[in-house]
């Protein structure tokens, strides 16, 4: 079980309120991702749930029981830290055993769980090494192993992949997703990377300045962002925003259109502009278009085959059904 409920939770550091009153429920078994730019309070929120920080006011309930004042050790949660936070003076085996040793589990049960975790995480050959002798990915697995053996009611991940290089990150992303499929345990995952959020989450919580901007499934957020911030934050490359007369045509203060929802051609389309930079990724090509009279730059995703050069004047056509409309406050117009 692992349902976590935040009720009117706030957090201030001195006079600075980093989290204004916030309500959120994470259902049992859910993979919930907190995403937002750095300094948005997502890590603070996670630490509040972990019990590493006190809430300033409000309540946190785990499985329906008030855990607001419960110390971290007693909350039944496991955490994987950004720096992995392995104990450098202990072997991998001892690292993984540590939480069970603290819980005074019988030796044979400890051994059984260590072996199972090591098996699942491909760590069997490394059990007697020290963390210092492991690669980044292996350390990450040890940290996860240490979390698994506790059989917690929920896992908390604090930007666990940000110290890995790009290739490893994709692999670990898959492994964590698989782990979730297998264990079906609640996971709360903090990241600033919207790609991680989109690919892993059942539910994404987008935060900015301590405020929840939107909660929803990845596709909800992609298709119907509640406001300009979410629209701009989710999706890569970023959504194009256009203001002024063009937006007025759609009865909006601002309209947004994603790069993948614009088609380019040499001579057809309502908008026009000059190619400034083209990024060829092979499968796709991104064009950065200037001199459109709409916005400084408009980014367009085209098929990898399409080839325009710097300085070419081309025409753009947005897909009408994919235009997002926002009012002057940046809120979505339904």
């Amino acid at each position: 079980m692992g349902q976590i409920q935040l009720n009117q939770v706030t957090k201030s550091f001195g006079a600075v309120e980093v989290i204004p009153p916030l309500d959120l429920t994470i259902e049992d078994g859910e993979f919930c991702v907190f995403v937002g730019p750095s300094g948005c309070g997502k890590s603070t929120l996670l630490r509040l749930i972990a019990g590493l920080e006190d809430v300033t006011s409000g309540h946190i309930a785990i499985d329906g029981n008030d855990a607001t004042m419960t110390p971290p050790a007693k909350r039944g949660l496991a955490m994987v830290f950004q720096s992995y936070a392995l104990y450098p003076h202990m072997s991998v085996r001892k690292n993984i055993a540590f939480p069970m040793k603290m819980a005074k589990l019988p030796e044979d049960e400890q051994k059984r769980r260590i072996d199972a975790a090591a098996q699942a995480l491909n760590l069997t050959d490394y059990l007697d090494r020290r963390p210092g002798q492991l690669s980044g990915g292996q350390r990450q697995r040890v940290a996860i192993g240490r979390a698994i053996v506790r059989e917690p009611s929920a896992f908390l991940f604090d930007e666990p992949l940000s110290n890995l290089d790009a290739a490893l990150r994709v692999g670990m992303r898959l492994e964590i997703s698989e782990l979730h499929e297998r264990l079906k345990t609640t996971m709360i995952y903090v990241t600033h990377d919207q790609v991680e959020a989109m690919t892993m989450a059942d539910k994404i919580v987008v935060l900015q300045a301590g405020l929840i901007e939107q909660v929803g499934s990845p596709l909800d957020l992609y298709h119907t962002p509640r406001n300009k911030f979410v629209a701009g934050f989710i999706g890569s490359p970023k959504m194009n925003f256009i203001e002024g007369p063009e937006a007025a045509k759609y009865d909006a203060h601002t309209i947004g259109i994603r790069p993948e929802h614009i088609t380019v051609s040499a001579d057809e389309g309502p908008w026009s502009g000059v190619v400034s930079v083209s990024e060829h990724l092979g499968s796709d090509t991104f064009f950065h278009i200037h001199e459109t009279g709409l916005a400084d730059t408009i980014t367009v995703r085209a098929d990898g085959e399409v080839n325009f050069r710097h300085g070419d004047r081309i025409r753009l056509s947005p897909r009408a059904d994919m235009i997002h409309r926002f009012d002057a406050e940046g809120l979505r117009i339904a």
Binding site: F13, G51, L52, E53, D54, P71
Partner: protein
């Protein structure tokens, strides 16, 4: 950044150290303050009642007072200047590539291991003795008249002995600091055409600022209260009576506790003046 729980735990865990030090500071301090307002002669009648500020006036008007303050400051200042200047020089030297660096470093640190009573005795007898000391032999070898170091040049002799003891410390801290200097900075300045001397002045020395602060702070703490070096060599004669030694003589030799305590209060005030200076300096430098 922590929970209420860990904050109260922190207070609890800090308590023993804080309470012990508070007691260590306050109890004797208050007693000293009380004694300083009394005529208190343990061997000649004991506590003879309150005398107001008499002790303070007597201590400060005694002919020994100002010279002792001056002696104290001379020793502290002299040792600081010598150890910092030589320390910078030595640190730069030891930072150069060479053979047997580890051994040289051990040789240089060694004086720090020597207890003050030993070093004072060794210097006094085996080096500075005007008849049998090594310096006397050296002077005679060059045809000069041997110097009676501890009576004719007593203050400089003491400064020298104490500098010898503290030079290792200064050198080591400065060496550690120099080693942390980013060599790319030096290379960049070389590319910019800075001559060696300018490099030293504009890059190395400012980089050492923090380390020098630490040296000055820690050495001052210890130097203000040097005792054994004087106790074993001159017993405070020949103008080497520091404030510490003067008070020691009043309290233990003349057994005038009231007067000595008043002196103690002066010493505490002097130390605090120096401390405020230093803390200002360090507080600023330690944050950086």
């Amino acid at each position: 950044m922590a929970t209420q729980h860990s904050r109260s735990a922190a207070r609890l865990m800090m308590a023993p150290a804080v309470i012990l030090l508070l007691g260590w500071m306050l109890v004797p301090l208050i007693m000293t303050l009380l004694f300083s307002f009394k005529k208190y002669l343990p061997l000649r009648g004991g506590d003879l009642g309150w005398v107001g500020f008499d002790n303070y006036i007597r201590f400060v008007t005694s002919s020994a007072f100002w010279p002792s303050v001056l002696t104290t400051l001379t020793i502290v200042g002299g040792v600081l200047v010598i150890t910092v200047v030589l320390g910078v020089f030595l640190a730069i030297l030891l930072n150069q590539p060479m053979w047997g660096q580890g051994i040289v470093r051990i040789l240089v640190i060694a004086p720090f291991f020597v207890m003050p009573t030993v070093s004072a005795l060794v210097w006094k007898n085996m080096f500075m003795d005007p008849v049998n000391g090594l310096f006397a032999h050296l002077w005679k070898f060059f045809g000069a008249e041997p110097v009676a170091w501890l009576s004719e040049a007593s203050l400089s002799s003491i400064v020298m002995i104490v500098s010898w003891q503290w030079l290792p410390f200064a050198t080591l801290i400065l060496l550690t600091a120099i080693q942390s200097l980013d060599s790319e900075q030096l290379e960049a300045s070389e590319m910019d055409g800075a001559p060696k001397l300018a490099q030293f002045g504009y890059i190395t020395l400012p980089h050492l600022g923090r380390a020098i602060t630490v040296v000055v702070l820690i050495q001052t703490i210890f130097l203000l209260s040097i005792f054994a070096e004087i106790f074993v060599t001159t017993q405070g004669s020949f103008g080497t009576r520091t404030l510490t030694y003067l008070i020691y003589q009043r309290v233990l030799e003349s057994q005038n506790v009231g007067l000595g305590s008043a002196g103690g209060v002066y010493a505490i005030i002097l130390a605090n003046i120096v401390a405020i200076f230093l803390m200002r300096m360090v507080g600023k430098n330690l944050d950086a």
